[in-house]
Amino acid sequence: MDSEQPEGKVALVSGNEAAGEAAIRAGCRFYAGYPITPQNELTAYIADQLPLRGGVFIQAESELAAINMVFGASAAGTRAMTSSSSPGISLKQEGISYMVGCELPAVIINVQRAGPGLGNISPAQGDYYQATRGGGHGDYRCISLAPFSVQEVCDLTYLAFDLADAYRTPVILLADGMIGQMMEPVRFDHLPAPSPTPRPWALTGTPGRKRNVIKSLRLPPEELEAFNLKLQDVYATIEQREVRLEVTGPDDAEVLLAAYGTSARICRQIVERPLRQLPFKVALFRPITLWPFPTAKLAELAEKARGILVVEMSAGQMVDDVRMAVAGRCPIELLARMGGNIPSAAEITEKLITLFA
């Protein structure tokens, strides 16, 4: 991708590059990262561009160093980001937990690959639990955003910085190898100039004000519990205000597909342009925020559905949130592919017919 995108022009860009460009346009001025496939183009794009556009890029010595550099940059009041892929995101969990403990905003991009362990470099969705249940130690959640196109990578990366600021929390963008590597036409010119919220809490030196302290150590149990309750209040607000989802297909669909990210992209094919005629109507329920999960909307849809097929590139993780939301209103089935395999439109179609025809 060429250095600057001309305004108003559509560019052919990969998901990884789109995340880098959107972050810079969102006012990210600090990035630290350590290479790992399939997200290296993101790090490379930021390395090329951020120093030219008023920011600091550091290739850290490790993922731990990178997340702790982001911790420091955020504490100093800078919009900061790191990115990695699954094994690298595991390494960053301690730092993310500490940032939550310090109420620090940051954006963390996970371009998922298949696991466990080193696994392989193919697209997967096995980090859903990690992204939506906190991920590190302690009692917390992170807002988790799941793009299913390169344009959405751009738009949600930009949004992630605003959400991180608004709630003083790390925000996870959960992509995968396909979304990161795929190129599509993307525009950036609709993104407004960044508007970071004031940061009176930041460590900026103390001219004429009381000293700021940023720490996550709260020894008295009463003090920590008060902080825990404060976090829970923030989370309740997030659950109220920040749920994002998309439902596509006929209003009177009998069967629902439920999927996010890459698997939603494949499911969308079946809803919009089926490989073969299905003897029932199908719609797609696609969470864009994985946490907060669109529980209320799914419960409403489940009332009139014959059944739901959850399609995931994991052994089945989001399906737990679906079960909790649906609470027995209709049967829930699962199509799970693992190991870096993307479910094909053909196999999803077969499964739908077997289950619901």
């Binding site: 496939t37 196109s149 344009q151 599509e184 992209r265 494949i266 969308r268 094919q269 342009r273 094909s344």
Partner: protein, 196 residues
């Protein structure tokens, strides 16, 4: 929100073309894909470009799944291809089964043998001595441009002049020694397809 919104929303009349381009790393597989995508975009179409990634090195295998559509593209995966552009034997063996009946098969016959093409059910099998042609032009590296020119002529997916413009733009920062053979190779590919 649509996955890509450059063109009008999906209609049943959308023209969608799904293709796979495959060969050795270093043969210019991804460049063919990217040029087809930028050309189609310049004509107002939607595209997706999904490369194999990571473990590929020069001499290893490389492939790219491309979808071009007048409407919105949902799955970027090419399970069944309208066209295959194949630059080496390994890729031929692997991908030929993915060609739709009635599809277009473009082979670099300098490196690929396919004895019984009738089994593929292809509408047209274009066997181009692309690497030999490129060598005669003076640079075997432009094999991919021969293949691209031939594919564009045989498929009619994008306009030849638009693709040539995208090719010139792609190499615009290079010297004439790089641009000119690519242009010559593209034109030669068009001729070879026209003669076939």
């Amino acid at each position: 929100m649509q996955p890509n919104e450059q063109a009008a929303p999906a209609a049943t009349t959308d023209q969608e073309h799904r293709l796979i381009i495959a060969g050795f790393g270093g043969q210019g597989v991804l460049t063919i894909a990217k040029l087809l995508c930028t050309t189609a975009m310049s004509e107002g179409k939607n595209v997706t470009y999904l490369p194999s990634y990571g473990a590929e090195v020069r001499g290893g295998t490389a492939n790219c799944q491309v979808v071009v559509s007048s409407g919105v593209i949902y799955s970027p995966l090419v399970e069944q291809a309208d066209s295959l552009i194949i630059l080496n034997q390994l890729s031929c063996d692997r991908f030929v089964v993915r060609l739709k009946p009635g599809g277009l098969l473009v082979l670099n016959s300098s490196a690929v043998a396919l004895d019984d093409a009738s089994q593929t059910g292809a509408r047209q099998v274009l066997r181009l001595p692309a690497a030999d042609t490129a060598a005669r032009i003076g640079n075997v590296k432009v094999t991919n441009s021969v293949m691209l020119g031939a594919f564009v002529r045989a498929s009619g997916l994008v306009a030849e002049e638009d693709c040539l413009a995208a090719l010139r733009e792609h190499w615009s920062r290079r010297r004439a020694e790089v641009i000119d053979p690519n242009v010559t190779a593209f034109r030669r590919g068009v001729e070879l397809a026209a003669e076939a």
